[in-house]
Symmetry: C2
Subunit: 141 residues, 2 copies
Amino acid sequence: MVKTTNPAAVAERLHAGAIRLLRRVRVADSEAALSAPKLSALSVLVFAGPMSLKALAAAEQVKPPTMSKLVADLEAEALAVKTVDRADKRAVTIAATAKGRTLMEEGRKRRLALLTKSLRTLSARELQTLAAAAELMLALE
Amino acid sequence: MVKTTNPAAVAERLHAGAIRLLRRVRVADSEAALSAPKLSALSVLVFAGPMSLKALAAAEQVKPPTMSKLVADLEAEALAVKTVDRADKRAVTIAATAKGRTLMEEGRKRRLALLTKSLRTLSARELQTLAAAAELMLALE
DNA sequence: ACTATTAGTTAGTCAAACTAACTATATGAT
DNA sequence: ATCATATAGTTAGTTTGACTAACTAATAGT
């Protein structure tokens, strides 16, 4: 095995690998009941809990007007609820509903099912390498 | 270290890691002269060589009309050229120009610069793990 | 108390995706 | 050989999700 520890070379391969991986996963997204940006926002609400529109927009790296529309759509489908903050009446707290949690979980499972299937063909050692790499990617500053 | 060889668990972490990584990289994209879909199409032309619109659309997983517009824009900026196929006059062959190759290369470098910088903080062993993982991701069927 | 700031929404624009429908060319079946 | 069918690409029109600018409502800071 070639020991590739040149950061630029690793960056290139890792970038290409991440693109390839997500492209594969995205194929399953077409069946989803919800678009990718909405599913993503919903998953933030589920995992990080209720938060303001501003915080949700920041978490998803979009501007408030963009998130305002996404949340309005989620609310129209009863997947999230908006409540006026008692302490600050300008602000709203957005939370996933039980229906939202369920739908998000299903979407996530469907997306991951294809990837899981691919991973089953790998050895335990290869899976360990990927697991370790995933943690490194998540920890990148 | 926990030995995570459960494919579903690895899939979940790897998916999250890939999203995180690409999101970081995308920040640098705002400075790019070309949008992500155009840069991506251009890179396919550079790396895989000239091809028909249909093939390019398939490679990018979009429908022909979508690619038709992207290519028209690339052509308007002299980053790609379209020539009618001699054997089949319905078909066109799309190729990157020298200008296109240069621009694509610059865009890629800019995108990877940030990632490379992050990777520099990692140990040689960690880089090897990521390099190995990248190859596994690229090889996934 | 008045000004400035902040949270969110509304209006309007743009890029990129789609489908449907079109033109032009190629293929194939009788 | 001709006519029907299929294929390559484009054009037209729609939708979604992103943006900025400008607005309302509420809070915070002199």
